[in-house]
Symmetry: C2
Subunit: 321 residues, 2 copies
């Protein structure tokens, strides 16, 4: 967490430019990505995951990763986060000035192979090598390295994921040199009870100062309830995506990441300080609408406005409560 984050109660990390755009049917132009990142920072977001460093032939939408990372680095007060699955990607990220690098490792062996084409043990070794690269840099150039554990709450290939495996892998990542370990509900299979249980157990295993954020998907509509459960477990970094971009390819409503605007609205209403202006987030949706015209945009607050903003009530012929 940056120094600038000290006046906030928790950090909302916008992951849309990475997690959303890699899923989109269209490729967002670099210029639009830059406007989105700038608008995010202007709305008060302190951290944006701006891209992933992966081969352009695999993910064409991320071909401009270095350019986008360098641009984001010019925005004062913004922590520039990226994703990199291996040493090669992490080296490119460091060269471009990334300040936080998330290295994804699935708790499910089968998912890890499907996602990054290596075993979990090989991914941990890769993480160790990435941390060695970090340590070779001068202090002020060192990025924070987060191990991003995926499929923590269930796997679409292996099914149930054992909590003991989560703890074992989290400890292995810390031993490999990770600064933080974040936990992801990659498959939308978490529930508030499992969120509370697994985050608490992970903290007990690796220590509060090593526990990273919660990366939650809204696949089955439990996203905000799970975010609330994560807060109950003292998680203080929550990933989310503007307009829920990164939507599941299934149907309307089944969005991908939790919606940044709705999350920030909930936190605001609860009296928690995020430093983020919901109104400006809502305005930033226009960038997505323009640059990705065929992509569905999600979010409830965008439809009806905030509670403080009031709501036009259509008088209905009904007695309600």
């Amino acid at each position: 967490m940056t120094a600038a984050a000290q006046d906030i109660d928790l950090l909302v990390s916008e992951v849309g430019p990475r997690d959303g755009l890699q899923m989109a049917g269209e490729i967002m132009p670099t210029e639009a990505k830059q406007r989105w990142i700038a608008a995010s920072a202007a709305a008060g977001l302190r951290e944006v995951e701006v891209c992933s460093f992966v081969p352009p032939k695999v993910v064409p939408a991320m071909a401009d990763a270095a350019e986008v990372t360098r641009y984001a680095g010019t925005i004062r007060g913004l922590t520039v986060a990226v994703l990199a699955p291996n040493v090669r990607g992490a080296e490119a990220a460091m060269a471009a000035g990334a300040q936080k690098i998330t290295v994804p490792i699935s708790v499910s062996e089968a998912h890890n192979r499907a996602n990054v084409n290596r075993s979990r043990a090989e991914s941990v070794a890769e993480l160790r090598a990435i941390c060695a690269r970090r340590d070779a840099l001068p202090d002020h150039e060192r990025p924070l390295i987060e191990a991003g554990l995926s499929t923590v709450f269930g796997c679409t290939i292996e099914g149930i994921v054992a909590e003991a495996e989560v703890l074992r892998l989290a400890a292995a990542c810390v031993a490999a040199g990770a600064d933080e370990v974040g936990l992801a509900d990659t498959t939308g299979m978490a529930n508030p009870a499992s969120i509370r249980r697994v985050f608490r157990a992970t903290r007990a295993e690796i220590g509060a100062n090593k526990l990273g954020g919660a990366h939650l998907h809204n696949t089955r509509g439990l996203g905000l309830a799970n975010a609330l459960a994560a807060l109950d477990a003292d998680v203080r970094t929550l990933d989310s995506s503007l307009a829920g971009l990164g939507g599941c390819p299934f149907a309307p409503g089944a969005s991908g990441n939790i919606v940044t605007e709705d999350l920030v609205y909930m936190l605001d209403e609860m009296g928690l300080r995020t430093g983020i202006d919901v109104g400006r987030l809502l305005e930033a949706r226009a960038i997505l609408r323009e640059a990705l015209p065929s992509e569905p945009l999600y979010g409830f607050v965008a439809e009806v406005g905030t509670a403080k903003g009031g709501m036009k009530v259509t008088r209905r012929a009904a007695t309600t409560w």
Copy 2:
């Protein structure tokens, strides 16, 4: 709560046939209402709010209230709940065999006048008269009378609603003879912190045995997070609506009540016993689709299935976590 409810951890009360249908653009035929209520009971719902007893010229969709109530009374093990805003409606409800009658009273004076055309004091007097009618019945015919406090978490007319007013009105309703006092987020302005605070304060004011359920709307997408917060505050009855019927007249996504299927899915996953089969709830949506073809149906689980049911993963050209 009925004797049959003793083997469950909490009661999910389906309010769609009342709260949903009074809002729908089409009138559901009596026969379809009956099939829906029967399907609800067959899915394991122990309580269904089947209608409201209001003048048919005001709410044509409820013209068959007595017939629907009598039908529901033939279903073994089902608590037949209804809404009635006044003595006249409550008498008709009792005559039809209603087992639970919710009497709506808004904490906001302006909302109460807009909703039931009288002051809050007049509504409390009406509640007292309804309780007197209840007490005049033989023991085994007495319905449970719930005071349904509306606009507890904010009002679209008056804005902020003072917690002290909620407590004052809750106590007045108990003094008037209400068996229970339920709290509603009529306007979708609650948040998890206000839910926890106000439910706890109300319990402290009137006692745990008088605290009824939470009637939550999903206007700004916080519905399930608010339901989780209500559970944290030891609320043990949650209202919801199949397919979120009762949708806000605004836009897709801005549904009305929380979605029964999604709520039950969340509770199931958390290991709480509801006695309800999500699969059969999902099947019951077909009745709505057929009888209300132009009404939008909401819900995430209906789109992607339960976590246990698995999910077909479209392999994407992206590295995720």
